[in-house]
């Protein structure tokens, strides 16, 4: 199948699903949920097909930043679908679907960076771990963001969009915590391998190539570490934990933005 057609299909399907999920979140009928889920699944399948064809065409997820980004989007979509099997997450799609769409669009818009620095096995492992860690943090942040919005609505006694398909706050909190718990050790390893790579390439020796994303990566790691400790020792949950999760991801996102800006320049 033509990769361009698959790309168009996934963007179209994710886009339409985003619109329908948003309609559901704003109080649209329950019928929207079925169509939204169908289109999201369609996008997910097209996305998988695109990644699969790419693998045969030497465009595997570790071959370039664009492919890695697309893969992160696909992991996010898969995570959302998997979580939806056991939880009422239809309204959560209003955030999950657009996030996936953004990842897919970024993967298309950004210039292909080609093979990674060094192209070594360690670089590949670093990309893999970073990708997986970022995907899990993105999912945790999406869930935390939904928690904040839903909590505010419940406090204001505005039940619009919360009647059908809305996940309970407890579920959102639990899933977000789970994503961080799994994502943190992965991201820790990503930072470690990244540090080894930087040292191996001698980037810090001259002091000229210290990049902002190194700092953001460390800030992000600290934010998630603090979140895990706060949850464990201080019993943080709910709104506080949600804000910290979103802040942690904002830092992680800056790592990506910094990276892409540098690539574009």
């Amino acid at each position: 199948m033509n990769p361009a057609a698959l790309a168009l299909a996934q963007i179209g399907a994710y886009g339409l699903a985003s619109g329908l999920y948003l309609g559901l979140f704003l109080g649209g009928g329950q019928r929207l949920a079925g169509w939204a889920c169908f289109l999201f699944l369609l996008g997910f399948a097209a996305h998988l097909g695109d990644i699969g064809i790419g693998c045969f065409d030497a465009r595997h997820p570790l071959s370039s930043t664009s492919e890695a980004l697309s893969f992160v989007g696909w992991l996010l979509a898969g995570g959302f679908l998997l979580a939806s099997l056991r939880n009422r997450l239809a309204t959560t799609g209003a955030f999950a679907a657009p996030t996936v769409l953004v990842f897919v669009l970024l993967a298309r818009v950004l210039p292909d960076s080609g093979a990674r620095a060094g192209g070594s096995g360690l670089a590949t492992i670093h990309i893999l771990l970073s990708t997986a860690g970022e995907a899990l943090f993105a999912l945790a942040a999406v869930l935390a963001l939904i928690y904040i919005v839903q909590e505010r609505r419940l406090k204001r006694k505005d039940f619009t969009g919360l009647r059908d398909g809305a996940a309970p706050l407890e579920t959102l909190d639990r899933l977000s915590r789970l994503c961080v718990l799994i994502g943190f050790p992965i991201f820790t390893l990503a930072i470690t391998t990244g540090a080894v790579l930087v040292a191996r390439l001698g980037l810090l020796r001259s002091g000229k190539d210290i990049r902002a994303e190194y700092l953001f990566a460390v800030v992000s790691w600290f934010a998630y570490g603090a979140l895990i400790i706060a949850r464990r020792s201080a019993g943080w949950q709910g709104r506080r934990a949600a804000w910290l999760t979103v802040s942690g991801f904002a830092a992680a996102l800056l790592v990506l933005v910094g990276y892409f800006l540098r690539r574009l320049s």
């Binding site: 009928g29 329950q30 019928r31 939880n87 839903q150 419940l154 406090k155 006694k157 039940f159 919360l162 009647r163 059908d164 809305a166 309970p168 706050l169 407890e170 579920t171 639990r174 201080a234 019993g235 943080w236 949950q237 709910g238 709104r239 506080r240």
Partner: protein, 454 residues
């Protein structure tokens, strides 16, 4: 089709009869089998099933003579009521409340009942189970047959489709169930959840009981401990000392409060202390007391979700509005399914006629081809096959238009008339089959709709 059975309903419901009339006709599970047997023995009743709930008593039957069947069924009901009617005229006691449905209207009514469109609380889920039980009881007693089988099977399908395609039953419509539903917006379930009931009100107990049935552990507290203990004993709840309210609150996930206190018993400062002790973990407080038991400003505290009786009633009204909107859509589904079902039934009605017509013509064609072959002295099997083929092709050409006409008639309402004409014209032997009659005058059944509740 003079031998066909017709689907009819005789009954009364909350729409047509007050409770004192409904309870006189109600049938207990113990006497159901005997009642079905008696109904089946009535003249003209080929199949029957009986539905008896607190809101309706309906007899479903497949009958060969509608007028006689309705008379016999009403006579049966009169007999049941007679022993408890005293000096009152039995016939006039129940007649004004009865409705009779037949043909299309009967199908339409059954579909609406099963889909909970005719229920007192539209969309309530119990009725489908009750209709299923009514049919199963009939089947177990051996009083149902092909006509009722097809009508009920389709009714269950329609009910399921309506549940699936509309939101008619998705939202609760009682204050206590709305309270439970709102708690579910915060917590994923009630298993292992701790619920504190403050006050000994019946409505709080109702909501708490619903949570207990899903695994929550309930504790009651009240200024008068004896009342808390009485309520706890009645429902199997635990009891907490009212003097240690803050301690109980600290260990609670959900609070349902309904005391008669004139001043709030939970003010902002008190709940702030409780939340600090709870490390601001979410707590849902449902305040159904008037005047309110919880200071409204307490909802600003982190982790506190506070809803009062006004919030619950607004949500209930909104759910009811939603149900009525969904009910309109469900009515369209029922209409569509009735048309589809009758189309299927009529299609089945013309099927035997088409089959008999084809057999008659095929027989004639083959015998004439055989005769022509022998007159011409043709013995070559290849030529013989060609003769048969020619006869078949001719018959297909000839019968194409009549077949199409019969199938088209099945889609509207002329199937019986046209099929009867074809049978008479070609002297076709058709076996009598049980089916749902859908004669034109069935729509008049609405006129039989009886007199509203006096």
């Amino acid at each position: 089709m003079t031998n066909a059975l017709e689907f009819v309903i005789l009954g009364l419901s909350h729409r047509t009869a007050p409770l004192d009339v409904r309870e006189q006709l109600a049938v207990s599970p113990d006497e159901l089998a005997e009642r079905l047997r008696l109904l089946r023995e009535l003249p003209g009743i080929a199949e029957t099933a009986l539905l008896s709930t607190c809101n309706r008593v309906e007899i479903y039957a497949a009958v060969s003579d509608r007028a006689a069947a309705f008379t016999a069924l009403q006579g049966h009901l009169n007999t049941q009521v007679a022993p408890i009617a005293g000096d009152r005229d039995v016939h006039h006691l129940i007649e004004p409340h009865l409705y009779r449905r037949h043909g299309r209207a009967a199908i339409h009514h059954l579909f609406r009942v099963a889909a909970s469109l005719d229920s007192m609380v539209v969309g309530e889920p119990q009725i489908l189970g009750q209709v299923k039980d009514a049919f199963k009881n009939g089947a177990d007693a051996g009083t149902t047959g092909p006509t009722l089988d097809s009508c009920f099977a389709r009714a269950f399908r329609v009910a399921r489709r309506i549940r699936r395609e509309t939101g008619i039953g998705t939202q609760p419509v009682s204050v206590s169930s709305v309270a439970v539903d709102l708690v579910r917006r915060v917590f994923a379930g009630f298993a292992g959840r701790k619920v504190l009931v403050i006050g000994a009100g019946e409505m709080s107990a109702l909501a708490a009981r619903s949570m207990a049935s899903e695994g929550a552990s309930i504790v009651v507290t009240n200024r008068t401990r004896a009342r808390a203990e009485a309520l706890a004993q009645e429902h199997g709840f635990g009891v907490a000392d009212f003097g240690e309210l803050e301690k109980a609150l600290a260990a609670t996930d959900v609070v349902i409060t309904s005391t008669g206190a004139r001043q709030p018993i939970l003010d902002r400062a008190r709940l702030q202390r409780v939340q600090r002790a709870r490390r601001f973990a979410p707590i849902v407080i449902v305040d159904i007391a008037v005047p309110r038991d919880v200071e409204p400003a307490a909802s600003e505290i982190e982790g506190v979700f506070l809803w009062d009786i006004d919030d619950l009633q607004k949500e209930t009204a909104s759910h009811l509005e939603g149900r009525m909107r969904e009910a309109e859509q469900a009515e369209n589904v029922v209409e569509e399914e009735v048309v589809r079902f009758l189309g299927t039934v009529r299609g089945q009605a013309v099927g035997p006629t088409i089959k008999a017509l084809r057999e008659r013509f095929s027989e004639l064609g083959r015998s004439h081809a055989e005769r022509a072959r022998s007159r011409a002295g043709i013995t070559d099997p290849k030529v013989a096959v060609e003769f048969d083929r020619m006869a078949d092709a001719l018959i297909n050409e000839l019968l194409h238009a009549p077949q199409v006409a019969l199938k088209k008639a099945a889609a509207v309402d002329d199937a019986d008339v046209l099929a009867g004409a074809v049978q008479r014209l070609f002297d076709l032997p058709i076996a009598a089959e049980a089916q749902v009659e859908s004669d034109d005058d069935a729509d008049d059944a609405d006129d039989d709709e009886v007199k509203k509740n006096p």
